[in-house]
């Protein structure tokens, strides 16, 4: 199969996954125990007629397929619905906050990856078990803290929010990269290269990295989803006005249209991140 066919299949699969993910989130929302209960129905300032209208609104959303198809059709035309709690079109909210989250996630990912690569390279070049143990213990401890806990700690210490995000991604990235490098280092040709006098840096750059390139790209794709997921507690607790904070606010306000759109957007980001990484790892012959 040619690379272009693979590309087309991957794009099609990505689109199907996004649509299926959206359907799954809508179905979950529909079958959640409190679906259809609107606190406006308990608000005594609204008269009977208004409360009946609110009830009918939720009844109209009971058929999942119809509701999802309608929502999808609206989304294709750029209409993401109306936020009941923030009283603004969801599209505007996503555009505004998307930029903030993009900045936060990018900064966090860049910092985490830079730190992880530097630590792995330092451990490799030093060849000392002590650095490895220190790094493994540090990453193990970071792995034990919830993302929200890290965000809270940085709020107390006046640290930037992207640092919390980087600290969430760093331990997993470091542990995986370190494991990959260590397992590759045990391969016979690497041992031969070292025994013939190739320097540690040359062995890493010319013999180890090309072998694990695909795995690194796959990990890069996976860390996008990880960072986007961690953005909810980090943004909510650090007061960063991004998509994560929007998701949290709409959850507290039971704002389903916003949550559905945010879920679709996040699923799209994660799927596209993974697909992009897969495509880069599967690049056409002659380009590498």
């Amino acid at each position: 199969m040619s690379w272009w066919n693979k590309l087309a299949i991957r794009i099609l699969l990505a689109a199907l996954t996004i649509a299926a993910g959206g359907f799954l989130s809508t179905t979950l929302a529909r079958y959640a125990p409190g679906f259809g209960s609107d606190e406006r129905q308990l608000d005594s300032r609204f008269n009977q007629e208004s409360r009946e209208a609110f009830r009918l609104e939720s009844v109209a959303e009971r058929d999942v397929t119809t509701y999802y198809v309608k929502a999808l059709r609206r989304m294709v035309h750029g209409d993401f619905g109306w936020s009941r709690t923030l009283r603004r079109p969801v599209r505007e909210l996503l555009a505004e906050r998307g930029a903030v989250t993009l900045h936060l996630v990018s900064a966090g990912l860049i910092l985490a990856w830079t730190a992880a690569i530097l630590l792995v390279v330092a451990t490799w070049l030093a060849g000392s078990g002590v650095i490895d143990i220190v790094c493994a213990t540090g990453s193990g401890l970071l792995l034990c803290l919830p993302a929200g806990g890290l965000a809270l700690l940085l709020v107390v210490l006046d640290g930037p929010a992207y640092l919390a995000l980087a600290l969430v991604v760093l331990p997993k990235t470091y542990q995986y990269l370190s494991g990959l490098v260590q397992s590759t280092a045990q391969m016979p040709h690497i041992t031969t290269a070292r025994s013939k006098g190739a320097s540690a840096s040359r062995t890493l750059a010319w013999h180890v990295v090309p072998l694990i390139r695909r795995e690194i790209l796959a990990l890069a794709g996976a860390t996008v989803g990880m960072a986007v997921g961690a953005a909810i507690p980090v943004e909510a607790l650090s007061g960063t006005p991004g998509i994560g904070q929007l998701a949290w606010q709409s959850t507290l306000g039971r704002d389903v249209p916003v949550l559905t759109s945010v879920s679709m957007l996040v699923i799209a980001c994660t799927v596209l991140g993974n697909t992009g990484a897969d495509l880069l790892a599967d690049e056409p012959r002659g380009t590498s």
């Binding site: 959640a32 034990c144 803290l145 998701a247 949290w248 996040v266």
Partner: protein, 267 residues
Amino acid sequence: MKTLRRIALAVVSTIAILSIVGSALPGFDYTQQDRLHISAGPSTDHWLGTDAVGRDRLGRILHGTRLSLTLAPAAAGLSLLLAFLFGAAPGFVGGYSERAAKTVIDLMLSIPWLFLLLMVRCLLPLNTSPIVSAMITFLMLGLLGWGVPARILMARSRALRESEFVLQARAMGVSRRRLLSVHVAPNLCPVLMAQFWIALPVFILAEANLSLLGLGVAEPLPSLGSLLREMEGVLSIRGDLCCFAALAVSLLVVGSLQVAFHHNEVN
């Protein structure tokens, strides 16, 4: 590694015993309020002090740990059951069912389930009781967290399907159902155990994250996450008291991960 595993098991067991026994003692009721000692420091009556409404912190930490240690294993068990059904069984059967299951697993893996969890959590009825909210939170974790173990189980059962002893059993006329239950399932047990110990800290951390956002276990029921949330207000004043919940989470996670890594090495 064996020593590390023993230490980890000892840590997890000690925490579990302390939380179960301690929370059953009369002085550690998580709802009891001492209105004369609001936000008090450690004393003989309250070893770790009291919170903003006069509730004993130690009692709440013990009850919160017990809750996590009761519901997180249940959620991990549920996710492993689903992983077995959607991963191990199709992986062993092969063909179209394997391909279909792989697509579903890929879908589950590409969805950031914290968002789905938020969505379900936001739609809980307003009058949901704290214990029901806790159970639903962990139930959702179990229902959404089976993607990774399913993929691992699928790979393992596929390898077993192609193994010589299974081929021989098949050649001898052993039915597929018997093969799965008698020959394959016991061989999957070490992988299942490892995945169980990996899922446990993941679910504890997920609950902690949700509770930190005020969307996990509802008050007055304590959970490790809601106790960590209290750090926000008091960390700068009396961080030593509030770090106990963080310590409990960390110890549980470290313990579980060590056990899991040991299982992975065995496999």
